[in-house]
């Protein structure tokens, strides 16, 4: 019988994933990752992630399913690989995707490695995506699809990853939870960044990085206003610029070394190419030249592009049509239909208006 470790966050998705793993006849063991070390009495019910209440929810579901259950303390790994990285990326003027980072370093790849070391045949999670014949595909429920945050997986990982929710819709998942009497059936969705429970990323960054005042300038270098920290801004941002202008201004670039935020017209946000670093292919053979679809944010529109490998994990994507507001640090994920080809981290963008590239 296949021995499967299931990552159980305490939410409805991973609870149902665990239940389906049991129904599939696998020998299932549940594990909850303790990723935050907030003292229990400071935690707010229903806020953030990985709270004591979440661990208790996961434990009760495991009890209902009759499977062994453990809590693993991975707070230190999470802090180093995800939280510190998140702050460092913003401090460097980039816009990170902490969920992709967490999957890469802790939740999926890290856990797969531990599962293998402990003699498990596979890891199952509650992600909405499909793994079929060792390849990664979009979820049947397009609205819930999470393949975007799993693009970094290679064949060695996909071979041992089970995603029981891949062919289900969210209502089906909730109905399954209700049918099985799982108490997480009606739990609300979690949103935003789990370690910023109040949703105030700018405030969180300011507490962490301190105030770093600087100037808001236009593309000609004229000073339009002042800010309290360039890390508070992300490319495409319109609100909170603190400047008065006849037409709406948007953040075009963040230059942390100069403590400068460069703003401009909406049209100036358009880019025609992106350069990726740390690019990888889900088939493990590297991204190949050719045409593909690309998503540049978690729930963004897919656009066509030419994939131009540059060697050494660097890839340029020439976009079929201009795309607005792409920030360095974001993940770019390549698709062929529903098949995830791979992706990388945006290192730089090429404005549509500028020559060359």
């Amino acid at each position: 019988m296949s021995q499967v470790l299931v990552a159980m966050s305490g939410g409805v998705d991973s609870s149902v994933a665990a239940a389906l793993a049991v129904e599939a006849g696998w020998d299932v063991t549940g594990v909850h990752l303790r990723l935050a070390d907030t003292p229990a009495h400071l935690q707010v019910q229903g806020k953030g992630c990985c709270t004591l209440a979440d661990a208790d929810d996961a434990r009760r579901v495991a009890g209902t399913l009759g499977i062994p259950f453990y809590v693993w303390d991975m707070a230190e790994e999470f802090r180093r690989a995800v939280v510190d990285d998140f702050a460092d990326e913003y401090a460097g003027g980039r816009t990170p995707n902490p969920c992709a980072r967490c999957n890469e370093r802790v939740k999926v790849v890290g856990l797969l490695e531990r599962a293998r070391a402990l003699g498990f045949d596979a890891l199952a999670t509650g992600h909405y995506a499909r793994v079929e014949d060792g390849r990664l595909y979009r979820a049947a429920d397009r609205a819930k699809d999470q393949s975007y945050v799993l693009y970094m997986l290679g064949p060695a990982e996909l071979d041992r990853l089970r995603l029981p929710l891949g062919r289900m819709t969210k209502p089906e998942v909730r109905a399954t939870a209700a049918r099985l009497g799982l108490r997480t059936a009606a739990k609300p969705e979690s949103f935003d960044v789990c370690f910023v429970p109040d949703g105030d990323t700018a405030g969180w960054l300011e507490r962490r990085l301190g105030r770093r005042p600087g100037q808001v300038v236009d593309t000609a270098g004229r000073v339009l206003g002042h800010h309290q920290g360039a890390y508070r801004y992300t490319v495409g941002q319109r609100r909170g610029l603190g400047i008065a202008a006849a037409t709406p201004r948007y953040v075009l670039r963040v230059e942390p070394a100069a403590a400068r935020v460069v703003v401009g017209e909406r049209a100036e946000l358009a880019i025609r190419a992106v350069e990726l670093e740390r690019a990888s292919a889900t088939d493990g053979r590297g991204l190949r030249p050719g045409h593909a679809g690309v998503r540049l944010r978690a729930h963004g529109q897919e656009v066509g592009c030419q994939v131009v490998p540059q060697g050494d994990g660097r890839v340029r994507l020439d976009l079929d049509e201009p795309v607005a507001a792409v920030a360095p640090g974001q993940a770019a994920v390549l698709y062929d239909g529903d098949l995830v080809l791979g992706g990388g981290t945006v290192a730089a963008t090429v404005p549509a208006a500028s020559p060359g590239g």
Binding site: A40, L52, R59, P68, Y70, V71, W72, D73
Partner: protein
């Protein structure tokens, strides 16, 4: 199923169950009630009070029943400090006390104007009485807390020496004997203890009941107010059945301590376990000082192996033991005891605690060793791959 986690909770003894059963099956009776059933329940409570007192060399009237060891420690720490005027609420305790003492102390410091000083321990986990003595402030120190033996590594503490220092400074001595009350045992009079914390379930009694033994004359403020039970120190209806189970377990533990060869047999079981583990892992490191303190406890570090992983693999084979300490969620976190003993957090995460007791057998020990062999076999390829 081999159970090697007595330090977490010992299996209920047959004697304890037998003492509890009639009280659970009998009609309702509050031990404070002035009628036949009430008197019968009261008689059971008073028998237990004598049994518990006998275990620790106390007078029955000194036993204050509580909900367990945690409440006993809280009552001792908070009650002794609050009995003193502000400015004289000093507390000195070892750095390896149970969280029931340390966290109660932290509360008192934050909310009751107490001053708390932690006495360091050596690599075996034993407090240095000279350093401890240096922290005492005559007239200001109200309480000194030194546990009889540590719950994570088993090391025994110099309780009598600490008590003498405390008394010289005009302070009371609290001894958390939750682990050590059976073996090696403590004695209120011999060791100069003023306040002694006990938990029934570590002795083979039920959970939910314990005691603070309060030497006559030791001044204490109650934390729970109400019906004035337990000399006004702990209001609340006495759980007669649980207390009867506690008493029976205490009597059984005392009989074991006095039985020739019992402690030696337990120590021999532990030696068998250690020898078996050493044969599997020559780099095994023993925490604490197994020659002192708890004869049934073995805390060992498996270099390069996460305790979490070992525990999972042992549990899958039906062997119960534990890591150094767990947080509220159940995750294994680096133990404050091992850190105080100078271990690195990574080393603390590699520590597994085996603990034996009244029903342990050679078969349990051999099964545990066999399960560890299998766990190490599973984990070995990962080590090689790194």
């Amino acid at each position: 199923m081999p159970y090697l986690d007595y330090a977490a909770s010992a299996p209920l003894r047959a004697e304890a169950l037998a003492a509890m059963r009639p009280l659970l099956e009998r009609p309702a009776a509050n031990p404070s009630s002035q009628h036949g059933p009430g008197r019968a329940a009261r008689a059971a409570v008073e028998t237990a009070r004598e049994q518990v007192a006998a275990l620790v060399g106390a007078a029955p009237g000194e036993v204050v029943f509580t909900s367990g060891g945690t409440e006993a420690d809280n009552l001792a720490v908070k009650g002794a400090l609050l009995a003193r005027p502000a400015g004289a609420r000093g507390l000195v305790c070892t750095a390896v006390e149970h969280h029931a003492v340390l966290d109660a102390a932290a509360w008192a410091e934050a909310d009751a104007g107490a001053r708390v000083a932690l006495a360091p321990v050596d690599r075996a986990g034993r407090v240095d009485t000279e350093r401890l003595g240096g922290l005492l402030e005559p007239g200001r120190t109200a309480l000194v807390a030194v546990m009889a033996a540590n719950n994570e590594v088993g090391t025994g503490q110099p309780v009598a020496a600490a008590a003498a220092l405390a008394h010289d400074a005009g302070a009371l001595l609290l001894c958390d004997a939750v682990q050590a009350a059976g073996l090696p045992g403590v004695d209120m009079g011999r060791d100069g203890i003023d306040l002694l914390a006990l938990a029934a379930h570590k002795l083979g009694g039920p959970t939910g009941v314990g005691a603070l033994v309060v030497r006559a004359g030791a001044e204490l403020r109650p934390l729970l107010h109400g019906g004035g039970q337990e000399r006004g120190l702990r209001s609340g209806t006495l759980p007669a059945a649980a207390i009867a189970g506690f008493g029976a377990a205490a009597a059984a533990a005392l009989a074991e301590r006095e039985a020739p060869g019992y402690a030696a047999a337990l120590a021999a079981l532990r030696a068998r376990l250690l020898a078996g583990l050493r044969a599997l892992e020559p780099a095994l490191a023993v925490n604490g000082d197994p020659g002192s303190g708890l004869p049934g406890l073995l805390s060992v570090r498996f270099p390069g192996r996460r305790a979490e992983d070992l525990l999972l693999l042992l549990d899958r084979q039906g062997v119960a033991c534990s890591a150094g300490s767990a947080c509220a969620s159940g995750a294994v976190t680096p133990s404050h005891v091992l850190l105080a003993m100078g271990r690195e957090p990574a080393e603390a995460r590699e520590t597994v605690r085996f603990s034996l007791g009244h029903a342990s057998t050679e078969a349990d020990v051999d099964a545990a060793v066999a399960a560890v062999r299998e766990a190490l076999r599973v984990l070995a390829p990962q080590e090689a791959a790194r």
